[in-house]
Structure formats: C-alpha cells, structure tokens
C-alpha cells in the first residue's frame, strides 16, 4: 500500500462572487501537519470545507494516494475526522452518548477501552455522564477533540482547534496530535494562533484582492 498522501493541485474556490483562493497547490505526507494561517476571511475554513468536499471547488483536484477523491466520496469521507467551528454535539445527550453516537454514525461501535482512553486523554472521565448542554465552551471543545481522536481517521481537518482551550487542554491536544502524526496520520489545521507544534509546516493564505 502506498503511504497516505494528500495532494492538492491548482484548487480554486469562489464564494458569493468573490475569489477566495486560486491555483492553490500543496502536498501533505504521512506524519505531517499543515497549519493554515492568514487573516480573518482569507479562506482557511473554506479550504478545509473544500478538502472535506463540503464546498465544491471551482477548479483543481484533490488526490489521496494518487487517486481523485471525488471519484469515491464515501471512501474519502471515511478517512476524515472533522472539527468545525461548531462542535457538532447534542446538548441533551451526555458526553459518553455523544461520542458513542458520533462513532456509530461513522459505522460500527468503538471498543470501550478506546472510548475510555479518548475520554482520559482530554480529562473528560469525570464529565462522561454530564449532559453536554451543562458544559463550558472549553469542555465542549475537548469533547469534540475526543471525537476526532476516537475516529482513528488518517486525516484530521481541524478548524481553530485551540479555540476556548485552557493551557492543560492545549497540552492534551498537542499530545494527541503528536501521537496521531507519529502513527503516520496527517492533519490540516486552520489557526490564527501558534499551534505550538515545532514540526508544523505553515501555509499562509493571502487575501485575494
């Protein structure tokens, strides 16, 4: 099997009549983290959504191991873990129920020890039975990050992962990301602050005039 490789060639996207980015090309290899930086409105989120096929690009191709991902969108979605600016959690369900239901929606229940270790990684064990609506913004963010870890997907797409996280939670996130990269995973993260990952490659998106 070829190593996991994300190859983006000449990607262009227009939103609301405005060119967000044009002829954008980059490669992310196994164990690599790409940090998308740039001003507010420079298209970081749009690029992440385009990579997840949530936004249709106007031109260009996205390839995984040399194959166009749009040819098999379901297989591609199975390789992604998504963290948007909304957490995607149900307030009426508990932390544990949210993680279990998200994992079942991806197909197949997780092993309980995996769930427990994901909870432990983000210091959520004591909150596991609490309804998510009673959690603070930072605690919700940690639950969403635990969901990303639990998915075991090879490519993480993260939109402002450090939002609302306190220092210990940021450290937990960095550790989880390092483990993911060390295991050969890939990550693309949009961020306006320093992720604190020395190995990160940065891609600066400019505002297209």
């Amino acid at each position: 099997m070829a190593p996991p490789l994300l190859d983006v060639i000449d990607l262009a996207c227009r939103r609301g009549g405005r060119q967000v980015f044009d002829r954008l090309s980059f490669v992310v290899g196994a164990g690599e983290l790409l940090a998308l930086t740039g001003r507010n409105g420079s298209g970081k989120t749009t690029l992440l959504r385009a990579l997840a096929l949530l936004v249709r690009p106007d031109a260009g191709t996205i390839q995984w191991q040399g194959a166009e991902v749009r040819a098999e969108p379901e297989a591609w979605r199975g390789r992604l873990a998504w963290l948007g600016h909304l957490e995607g959690l149900k307030g009426d369900l508990s932390v544990r129920e949210n993680l279990l239901s998200a994992e079942r929606l991806r197909g197949g229940p997780p092993a309980d020890d995996r769930l427990d270790s994901a909870l432990l990684a983000f210091d959520l064990t004591s909150l596991a039975a609490r309804p998510v609506r009673t959690l603070s913004a930072g605690q919700r963010r940690r639950v969403a990050l635990a969901r990303v870890v639990l998915s075991q997907a090879p490519l993480w797409l993260l939109d402002e992962p450090l939002n609302a996280l306190d220092a210990p939670a940021q450290a937990a996130f960095r550790l989880a990301l390092q483990n993911h990269l060390a295991a050969g995973g890939l990550a693309v993260a949009a961020t306006h602050v320093d992720l604190g990952m020395p190995a990160a490659r940065a891609l600066e998106l400019d505002l297209v005039k």
Binding site: R49, A52, L54, V55, R56, E74, A75, R77, G78, L80, W82, G84, H85, L86, E87, G88, L89, K90, G91, D92, L93, E97, S101, A102, R104, L105, R106, G107, G108
Partner: protein, 221 residues
C-alpha cells in the same frame, strides 16, 4: 446500514430526553380536532360527515408543526456537518431522520385518531378505515415535510415557508385519505383509496430522499 439505524436510534433518544416536544404536537392535534364539534354544534350527521376531513387536516398540521426542527437543530449545532461527512449516503441519513419523525409523530397520530373519531360519531368500520388510511398516509406527510424542511434550512421565517411549500404537495394524500371514509359512507370498499395512498407514499419514498440530500448539501456549503 448500521449508520442508518444509529441515526434513527439517536433521534429517538433525543426525543426521549425531551418528551415535551412531542407531547405539544399531540396535544395540538387533540385540541384542534375537538374544537370542531364545539364550534359546529352537536349535529351528529354533519359531524360524522366532516370527521375524516377534519382529522386528516389536523394530522397534517400537527405533523408540520414539528418538522421545522427536523434538520434545523442539526444545522445549528454542527451535527449536520457530521452527517454530511458520514461515510454512507446522505440520502439514507435524510430517510432515517424522516423515519424517526414518523415514529414519534405519525404513529401516535394514527393511534389517537380513532379515539377522536368517536367524538365525531364515527362507528367501528369508519374508525378502522381512519386508522388504516392515516397509517399509510402519514409517512408521505413526513417525507414531503422533510423535503420542505431541508429546502427551507437556514432561511428566515422557515416555519411559514415550510408550510407554504409542503401543504400543496400534501393535497393528493389529503384527498384520498379523507375520501376513503366517504366511500365507506356510500357502502363501497376503501381499498382503492388505500392503494392510492400507498402509491403516493412509495413515490415520495422514491423521490424525496434524493431531493432532501441535495438540499442538505446546498445548506452545508
């Protein structure tokens, strides 16, 4: 298929956590139908004649009442993105949401309607026909309403727009649902009406999931 059942189970679980939402819809159905005998007066012949139409209209409104939250809650908390990114067809996800909606509103309406029919002076065979037509017809209402809910996702005043989109599409179901009881009144069998209702449900089942998925993808952009 496991994702499909997981989504149905999740939506039922969410309703179980907030039973008030469904209780309001069913209470609306009961109150709206009971108002007719009170407003029209105790003329049993007239009441029995309009019973099917009144109950069908009330069932339609009750089912619309809960539909504007069908996709909107997932849209607002970001779970819609997770459904869009699930590694199985979005068409099935839309269908799973409609199935969960039908289980918590359509099915209880079918059970309640015969009891309300008694208040209108319907007799045994009529009550059976009423329950049977609702059982076959309400899935269509959930599917068409689901489509309208998906199309109006993110729009302002989506509730009114949803009703405006869904009600005309529900007219055939309404006509054949209410018509079945009337055929019984002139001594005919209502199976033809039931067959047409089933056909309408199958047409909705075969078309709306694709339209819903397209509308949801559009909303996700």
């Amino acid at each position: 298929m496991s994702g499909f059942t997981a989504l149905v189970a999740r939506d039922l679980h969410l309703v179980w956590r907030r039973p008030g939402d469904v209780a309001v819809v069913l209470a609306f159905f009961v109150v709206a139908t009971v108002l007719f005998p009170l407003g029209i007066g105790p003329e049993s012949n007239l009441l029995a004649r309009i019973a099917a139409g009144v109950l069908w209209c009330a069932a339609l409104f009750a089912s619309l009442l809960s539909l504007d939250r069908l996709f909107a809650s997932d849209y607002e908390d970001g779970t819609l993105d997770l459904l869009l990114l699930a590694p199985w067809p979005l068409e099935l996800a839309a269908l799973a949401k409609c199935l969960a909606h039908w289980i918590v509103t359509g099915l209880p309406l079918c059970v309640l309607a015969p009891f309300l029919g008694i208040a209108f002076g319907l007799d045994g065979p009529d009550l059976l026909a009423l329950a049977a037509t609702l059982l076959v017809g309400t899935p269509t209402l959930s599917l068409i309403g689901g489509l309208a809910a998906a199309l109006t996702l993110g729009a302002r005043r989506s509730g009114a727009l949803l009703a405006l989109l869904a009600l005309p599409l529900c007219v055939p179901t309404l006509i054949f649902g209410a018509g079945a009881i009337e055929t019984m009144a002139i001594g005919r069998n209502f199976t033809t009406h039931l067959a047409i209702l089933a056909a309408l449900a199958l047409v909705a089942l075969a078309t709306t999931p694709w339209a819903m998925a397209a509308a949801l993808r559009q909303a996700g952009e």
